[in-house]
């Protein structure tokens, strides 16, 4: 198949409406301290078509587009917009050239209204203005492209899907002609994803050039007119959307060596419940959501998956199990004992482990070393003489043992963990947690942002834990991952469990509708 670095000519010329590219990237190279993110990349973007940029996490797709958007500056290479040389040194300049980007993390201001957020992007906003004058424009654009939002609503109160619409409106109001979407479907339910593709169709007709960055093949096949595959910072190939097949894409993405996905055997005879939540409710904190009347049991030897749109109580669920939040109502039982009034420390020492949503921000002390973080995982076990000293040699031995058990490559124990890569950090956290041989394990978005190898290693670890009789709660936004790994799949919305599925019952659309509380408009 194609070797990396070649740019294929179009397999299907009728994929795009126009033959003149609106943007041309030539020889783009970008180096970061540990990695070459983009290596002499060439790319053409055409108006009136959806151009998908496909590749696994870390392939360099996001970086490339951020260079186009002026977020990064390239070390080498050139960009031409409308066939003119362009120097894009900031997002402001990119927007002046008509380039707009919707990021994975929205740049909206939650406390302000939709109109105020969009007003910030109106090019010639008068010195004195009333936000209401912007509302008219918002309504017009909303009607035209199916991006209907209430201009007077506070962004904080909007559902994520609607917030994304505001992001798009921002770009349209700012007169962008190239719209870049970075992993836009990560936060959407299946039917919302279809809605997004419909919006793409409408925008396409008016000549907008849409770039759709993703690592999901299925989505690419559903909406793209042109597909460019990236692998390790280089273009693997470009093919037309109409005739593309999954195998062709896999070939381009992985060069023939498809990584083994984790094989999960059928569940063994299930053991006793390790965790039971009975009618648990919690108080909402600030912008969070309170859990409402949650009944959940996890038995030994099972993985319970939790699907849901981010912000519907996932964090609260994890927190209440770990004992970080008190049960306002209901009971919490761990290994048969009533743990409703236990502190987080006590719950942890009874055999509960976790890997958090954001390991660097929530799971480790960044400037501390691997050894210190490992010691913190179980301080009492390493304290000597009543706490007056710590047995560091024991800590080191345990680290080595744990890495060995998990078949992880060893890591340097005396350097600050913030120097680790995402995958290395995740392994460090897993080793610390699993080294204690927990019975119950709470995994929150454990593979988010990881490269394929690290993601697979993480999933394997979870399955191994389950096979050895542990219970796992897997919270994830990756429906594929959940479907593949869960022995039972629960759907969480607004702090309630609104659905439960066994593996053979799983219906992605049904789940999607449960996630967003929309009556199934389509099957």
């Amino acid at each position: 198949m194609r070797s990396s670095g070649d740019v294929t000519t179009l397999a299907n010329a009728s994929a795009s409406g126009s033959a003149t590219p609106i943007a041309q990237l030539r020889g783009i190279t970008k180096r970061f301290p540990n990695v070459v993110a983009n290596d002499a990349v060439d790319l053409d973007l055409f108006p009136g078509e959806v151009h998908a940029l496909l590749g696994e996490n870390g392939a360099g797709k996001s970086t490339l587009m951020k260079i186009l958007y002026g977020f990064y500056s390239c070390d080498d290479g050139s960009i031409r917009i409308d066939d003119e040389e362009a120097r894009i040194s900031s997002p402001l300049e990119a927007r002046k050239l008509g380039i707009g980007m919707v990021f994975q993390v929205f740049t909206l201001i939650p406390a302000m209204t939709v109109a105020e957020n969009i007003a910030l992007y109106v090019p010639a906003l008068p010195v004195t203005f009333d936000a209401r004058s912007v509302s008219q424009t918002i309504n017009e654009l909303g009607d035209k492209y199916g991006l209907r939002v209430d201009p007077g609503a506070t962004v904080r109160d909007l559902a994520i899907g609607d917030q994304q619409k505001v992001e798009v409106l921002k770009l349209l109001v700012g007169q962008a002609r190239i719209l870049i979407f970075d992993e836009a479907t990560r936060v959407l339910a299946p039917h919302e994803i279809e809605g997004l593709f419909e919006i793409f169709e409408m925008l396409k007709k008016d000549g907008y050039a849409i770039v759709f960055i993703t690592h999901k093949m299925r989505e690419v096949l559903a909406c793209a007119d042109r597909i460019t595959v990236m692998k390790r910072g280089r273009i693997s190939g470009t093919i037309g959307g109409r005739g593309a097949t999954e195998s062709a894409l896999i070939e381009l993405m992985f060069g023939g060596a498809v990584p083994d996905q984790v094989a999960k055997g059928g569940s063994e005879v299930l053991g006793d419940p390790i965790l039971e939540l009975q009618g648990v409710s919690t108080h909402a904190e600030g912008i969070g959501v309170g859990l409402r009347d949650v009944d959940l049991a996890i038995r030994a030897g099972e993985i319970a998956g939790v699907a849901g749109v981010s912000g519907n109580g996932q964090r609260e669920l994890g927190d209440v199990i770990l004992g970080l939040t008190a049960c306002a109502r209901g009971r919490r039982r761990i290994l048969g004992a009533d743990a409703t009034s236990w502190s987080a420390g006590r719950i942890r020492s009874s055999g509960v482990g976790f890997v958090p949503e954001d390991s660097l921000g929530m799971g480790v002390v960044p400037w501390m070393t691997l050894a210190q973080n490992a010691a913190l995982g179980n301080v009492e076990a390493y304290a000597r003489h009543g706490g007056v000293s710590i047995d560091w040699e024991h800590v080191q031995r345990d680290i080595a043992t744990s890495f060995d058990e998990l078949s992880f490559e060893p890591l340097e124990a005396w350097v600050p963990v913030r120097t680790f890569s995402g995958g290395q950090l995740q392994r460090a956290v897993l080793s610390r947690e699993l080294g204690r041989h927990p019975r119950l394990f709470i995994a929150s978005y454990p593979t988010r942002g990881l490269d394929v190898r690290s993601a697979i290693a993480t999933r394997r670890v979870l399955v191994d834990l389950r096979d050895r009789g542990g219970g796992v709660l897997l919270i994830s936004e990756d429906l594929d991952e959940l479907c593949r790994l869960s022995d039972r799949l629960l759907v969480l919305r607004d702090g309630r469990i609104v659905g439960e599925f066994l593996p053979h019952e799983i219906d992605r659309h049904k789940i999607g509708h449960l996630m967003t509380d929309s009556g199934g408009k389509d099957a």
């Binding site: 987080a344 420390g345 799971g363 501390m368 995982g377 706490g387 710590i390 560091w392 005396w414």
Partner: protein, 363 residues
Amino acid sequence: MRRVWAKVVGSLKKGWSIAVARYAMILAIALIAYAAVLFLAGKDPIKAYADTFSFALGTSYGFSEVLVRMIPLLLTAVAVAIPSRLGLINVGGEGQLYMGAWLATWGAITFTSLPQSVFIPVLIVMGFVGGGCWAAIAGFLRARGWVNETITTLLMNYIAPLIVGYSVYGMWRSREVGSAAFPQTVAFPDAARLPRFFGTRVHLGLILGLVALLAFWFVMARTKWGLKMRAIGGNPEAARRLGIRLGLYIVVVMFIAGGIAGLAGMAEVTALHGRLRAGFSPGYGFMGFLISWLSGGSPLGILVMSFVLAIVFSGGTLLQITQGVPFSAINVLMAIILFVVLANPRFSLAVLKRGLTVRGRWQ
């Protein structure tokens, strides 16, 4: 193992020498800036500094006076440094110092018949508890997530001297001759006076300060509580998830810190003055804050900086007498030093990180 030890000692030394060089640079910048301020105020800075240094280091009386000044600075600096390891900013040294003095005064004038061997420990406890409780209030409010401890301790700094003033002018007021003009409490019994050394005014407080400093270093570097505290400072969210009880640590640490500052207050009134007067502290609490920030919270840095600032401070009193510079001009010097430290986060943060990471390696 020996190799590890040698590597560690080597990097320790390197870390310290760089740190010392940086402290020296900060001080130099600050002293030059202050000289400029003095000059603009029409004073002769060279003479001012010369007078200060010759007095402080040239005469044995001067030197002992520097040590006397150093005692409260040492204590209040530790009172700021300990919470800083948890990420807490304790500006309340001044208020905690006053409350320690206040409670110790109550003890001194109430239990008048105790022998010295009992009295002194009682007073130490009183001083500690007075300052400790005062700080614990702020700690509690912070632990509950209600108010930032910086703001609370700062406000409480203004309330504490008023409490002292109220007591001195009111219920504890001395009726002795000459006290009408200068309100103060009755003199403490002799048994309540902290012992002094070698006929100078250097008193037991110095031992207290050095013990506090040593304990601070040891607990932080070696013990399990120190590791947990540093984890809280490094990433409170992660610490919480690992089962560390944030609220408890915050309150206890603030209590201990306030207690140490309280000891400073207790020491001042029992060792030096022998009675409680309103406004007896010329800002020791704030200077302790400055010292801790200047030295990045490192114990050795605190020792050095307290000494240096004690020299500068005795210079301040001297300046007031010889050159008529108002005492609050010292505030300007403090501000300049703080400014220099804050304006160079890269290198002062690096000092802090190096100090902490090196200690990390030592585990």
